[in-house]
């Protein structure tokens, strides 16, 4: 597969779509229609191409696959280096799978400046895939930061009433974290003389330096993830973003933080990661319990789901930092599962928002009478979010808790309360929106899901159930890479331990 640059193709195919969209001409209605189709076909093609990654994936090796490497700035040892392993492969697929869904979800709700909207989404897709496929730190940073521009535009142009505030908050919060990551990247570049990620992964850094680098990485990834108390941009951004923007934000952008911890913090800075694990545990548990309680009190559906995202991401960080096989696999699985479920939940909100133009929970009630299909779809994702066995949410949370239990029973215990609270706020939301009496006048004529919406939800339902009932194919992909990650991690810790013993 060396000869065929499938990763580059996946990354840059959306940009080809952008070129097509730019040359579409005609009256405004034709343009809008053609632009939508062009964006949809581009993203679907990209998804199909990215499936090759899974089909040709070699399960037995922990090495990077589909590697492409070209010289870029040889004097500074910066190269155009791409590749995926068991950790990153699914995130690429998640990005390519959610983009066509987003474009379909915006089919009718976006009526102004359709061309710019689709261009922003396709550029965003390029940046997302690039982030997960980059094997050079500078390249990674370029994609990681580049995400900000299209997302800023998406929130700010097509968002709700307080869109300007939210867009700025999103951009500036993330940028503060990112520039600290940049400082760490510069320090690594100088120290190691290269920004090649596989080379950096194989290096050992002194403990003192690891601590500083870890904190800088943390600043960026914790904002992106987001972890409590750096999460305050998320509810604003989610509430004001258009539906598809929320979907991508929850589905993919948050995962960049978790991916960063897995790709950089743990393997490059094992000693510091070990030392800072209590900090991560504490913040994650606060996130899980506190944001769940906050979610319980929300009046706005999107805000509720946004806070639930923070809680679910708390499980991810706990899983990653348990440094156990189950914990890390659970963390990755939880990210994928949350990527699908939270995306679907935002789509569910989008469905009724398109009809009634309100996100207020109190505006709804008794929808099951007019919208049985919708009630069913919403139920599946609600239960997935709660972590009902048989859905993907269960597998992720169970593995994380199993890993946490091995490392620290108190963490496991406290995190479990989050599941109970999660069930509470989700069921409460569902009861208020779907059940009860159908009293509001405008709800009496509300229409059930149309074929386009069913087409959006069907693949997501299949995925949630597939991952819940038969997770093995997903776990198999991660297995070798996670094992390798842990071996190196333990080896680094014990090597440092030996030095400490000898030093005494």
């Amino acid at each position: 597969m060396e000869s065929f640059p499938v990763l580059s193709l996946t990354i840059f195919l959306p940009l080809v779509g952008v070129l097509f969209i730019l040359i579409v001409r005609g009256d405004s209605e034709t343009v809008d229609r053609n632009v939508r189709y062009a964006a949809l076909w581009t993203s679907v093609t990209t998804f199909v191409v990215s499936l090759f990654l899974w089909i040709n994936f070699a399960y037995t090796t922990a090495d990077f696959q589909f590697v492409e490497k070209h010289e870029w700035i040889p004097a500074f040892n910066i190269s155009y280096h791409l590749g995926v392993d068991g950790i990153s492969m699914f995130f690429v697929l998640l990005s390519t799978a959610l983009t066509p869904i987003c474009i379909l979800a915006s089919w009718k709700s976006i009526t102004t400046r359709v061309r710019e909207y689709m261009i922003a989404f396709l550029i965003l897709e390029t940046m997302m895939i690039g982030t997960f496929a980059a094997l050079d730190f500078v390249l990674f940073y370029i994609f990681f930061e580049g995400v900000l521009i299209p997302m800023f535009i998406i929130i700010g142009v097509w968002g709700g009433n307080r869109r300007v505030y939210s867009a700025f908050k999103f951009f500036l919060f993330t940028l503060v974290g990112s520039v600290l990551l940049l400082a760490a990247l510069l320090a690594l570049h100088f120290e190691a003389g290269t920004t090649d990620i596989p080379t950096l992964l194989a290096m050992q850094f002194p403990l003192e330096m690891q601590r500083w680098l870890w904190l800088a990485f943390f600043a960026s990834f914790a904002v992106k993830l987001p972890m409590w108390p750096f999460h305050t941009w998320l509810p604003d951004a989610h509430v004001e973003a258009p539906t598809a923007g929320s979907v991508i934000l929850a589905g993919v952008l948050l995962k960049m933080g978790g991916y960063g911890f897995l790709r950089f913090s743990i393997p490059m800075l094992p000693l510091a990661s070990e030392q800072f694990t209590p900090l991560i545990y504490t913040l994650s548990i606060i996130a899980i319990i506190y944001t769940s309680l906050v979610a319980l009190a929300q009046e706005d559906m999107k805000k509720l789901i946004a806070y639930s995202s923070v809680a679910h991401m708390g499980f991810v960080t706990i899983g990653i930092f348990t440094a156990t096989q189950q914990g890390i696999q659970g963390g990755i699985f939880q990210m994928l599962s949350h990527g699908i479920i939270s995306a679907a939940l935002f789509l569910c909100v989008g469905v009724i928002y398109d009809r009634i133009h309100s996100r207020d929970i109190a505006r709804y009630g008794g929808l099951v009478e007019r919208m049985p299909k919708y009630a069913f779809v919403f139920m599946i994702f609600m239960l997935g979010s709660v972590g009902l066995p048989g859905t993907s949410g269960f597998i992720g949370e169970f593995l994380v808790l199993a890993g946490a239990f091995q490392d620290n029973t108190w963490v496991a215990l406290l995190a479990t309360t989050g599941i109970i609270l999660g069930a509470a706020y989700m069921l409460y939301l569902y009861r208020r929106v779907i059940f009860g009496k159908l009293e509001k006048a405008d709800l009496k004529n509300i229409l059930d899901l149309e074929p386009r919406e069913i087409a959006i939800f069907a693949p997501l339902i299949v995925l949630v159930l597939w991952m819940g009932l038969w997770p093995q194919p997903f776990l198999d992909v991660m297995d070798a890479s996670v094992t390798n990650l842990l071996q190196n991690y333990q080896a680094a810790l014990s090597a440092a331990g030996n030095i400490a013993v000898v030093g005494r």
Binding site: V157, A167, A183, F190
Partner: protein, 486 residues
């Protein structure tokens, strides 16, 4: 002096000679033909600049000095000259339709630009405090006149006068510093000074030299408008006619910064420990002031003034590092700064409504609906100035900060990066106005062929800088190496 030697000396100064002769000839043409020839002279000046650029490229390889070591030609000088020639040519092209429209008919305008450019080329190639001062004064005097070229406009005259008074003061301070250095070191030649300080490195330079050095730094900091010598910048930027502001923002900044780097690293390179903290402070202060003071600006030219103060702060980070990567980063940053700034000013020049120039930032509201192409270009420049990858501005910051990390200036790096977040706020505000807000009346169309082409060209370069990064960086590496070769 032997005639043979003179010929050898002249041969290394071909570009400067060409510009000087060209300027004088065009001055004569203008004097005889009158203001009606202004447009022709402008184009001829562009041609002269272009030919001078070719002569620079065709110049000698390596480090060559001439005119009794007053004048030096090396890769560093060549790189900086190419940049400032490009900057001058692009801004002059921008100025032509403006001048024709706004009634600046004087043929002196392009000729003065040419004289200023000659002074800048002299600055970049100076190898002696005397030739340095000569270059600076030739440049400055031309710029004072240019700032006030609209004699009947109060703002323009005020800008010119302010620039002149403060500029003369700073030149005086610098000259005083030079006399101190000469008094204590006994020479004005860069080579002699470098050799002298290298000998004295272990015992430390005399205090008089240090005081003189600080005065020289103050004068140079004024020319690059670094804090705390920046006060003139917003007023002059705002008051001068917009194309002149564009010119001020680009060519003199590049020349003065290149000169700054050479003076610090060549003659005073061994006094690094003494001057590093000064540069460290002015870099830090410039970045912070550039970031915070711009937030409340409502006039886009004033905003650009603070923005350029901030950018000069970032460039000075590369100088504060004092190593080869730093010099390389400075040149890379200046290259990127050139394209971003010229592009932005081209957009500003296109901001006209009912035949009048608009400078209020709020008037950009909704530009993405009324003029999507210009809005896109301006958004690209703003994101690039904020340093968001994959746009060009990011790479400039990357390399100056990489140099600073090498020099272990961690505080400078972290504060600088955080100040770039503050600066991002006001760049984003412009994007917000153009994309998020409801449109006002459209700007006048058409904006003019020259402006459209420059906007298109610079925005494409800013966006796709990734692809030319390597050759530019390579050129900057050779140029930076020339400074450290001695």
């Amino acid at each position: 002096m032997e005639p043979v030697i003179l010929a050898a000396d002249l041969s290394i100064a071909w570009p400067e000679l060409f510009v000087a002769i060209g300027a004088m000839c065009l001055l004569m043409v203008g004097a005889f033909q009158g203001n009606s020839s202004a447009k022709m002279i402008s184009w001829l000046v562009v041609v002269v600049l272009f030919v001078a650029g070719i002569l620079v490229i065709a110049g000698p390889d390596g480090h060559v000095v001439g005119f009794n070591s007053l004048f030096v030609v090396d890769e560093f000088a060549a790189f900086a000259k190419i940049l400032l020639l490009m900057g001058a040519a692009l801004t002059l092209i921008l100025a032509m339709p403006f001048n024709a429209r706004e009634g600046i008919p004087q043929f002196e305008f392009p000729v003065l630009i040419l004289f200023a450019v000659l002074g800048m080329m002299m600055m970049v190639s100076a190898n002696d405090l005397m030739s340095l001062y000569l270059g600076i004064e030739l440049q400055s005097l031309s710029l004072y006149v240019l700032a006030a070229i609209r004699r009947d406009s109060m703002r323009s005259a005020e800008a010119g006068l302010k620039y002149f008074v403060l500029g003369a003061l700073s030149s005086g301070i610098m000259l005083y510093g030079m006399t101190l250095v000469y008094g204590f070191a006994g020479s004005t030649g860069f080579d002699n000074l470098a050799a002298l300080f290298a000998d004295q490195a272990h015992e430390g330079a005399p205090i008089g030299v240090i005081v003189g050095l600080v005065f020289i730094i103050a004068g140079l900091a004024f020319k690059v408008s670094a804090v705390p010598f920046h006060m003139w910048t917003p007023d002059v930027y705002e008051g001068a006619p917009t194309p002149i502001t564009a010119f001020f923002a680009v060519a003199p900044k590049i020349a003065a910064m290149a000169l700054f780097v050479r003076v610090m690293l060549e003659p005073f390179g061994d006094l690094f420990d003494q001057w590093q903290q000064v540069i460290w402070f002015i870099a830090l202060a410039s970045m912070l002031l550039g970031a915070f003071a711009a937030i409340n600006q409502t006039n886009i030219k004033r905003l650009m003034a603070y923005s350029s103060i901030g950018h000069m702060g970032f460039v000075l980070v590369g100088l504060a590092a004092g190593n080869q990567t730093g010099a390389q980063g400075v040149l890379l940053y200046l290259t990127i700064y050139l394209f971003m700034t010229v592009g932005t000013f081209a957009c500003i020049l296109a901001m006209r409504r009912q035949g009048r120039m608009i400078e209020d930032i709020d008037q950009l509201a909704g530009l993405s609906r009324t003029n999507p192409k210009m809005a896109l270009a301006l958004a690209i420049f703003m994101f690039s100035m904020a340093g968001i990858p994959p746009l060009a501005g990011f790479f400039g910051k990357y390399y100056v900060f990489l140099a600073a990390i090498q020099a272990e200036l961690y505080t400078l790096v972290v504060v600088g990066l955080l100040s770039s977040v503050v600066a991002a706020f006001y760049y984003l505000r412009i994007v917000k106005l153009m994309y998020f807000d409801e449109p006002l009346d459209a700007f006048d169309a058409p904006v003019g062929r020259e402006i459209s082409m420059i906007v298109a060209g610079t925005s494409v370069i800013t966006t796709l800088f990734i692809f030319i990064l390597w050759p530019v960086l390579n050129g900057a590496a050779t140029a930076a190496a020339a400074l450290f070769a001695l």
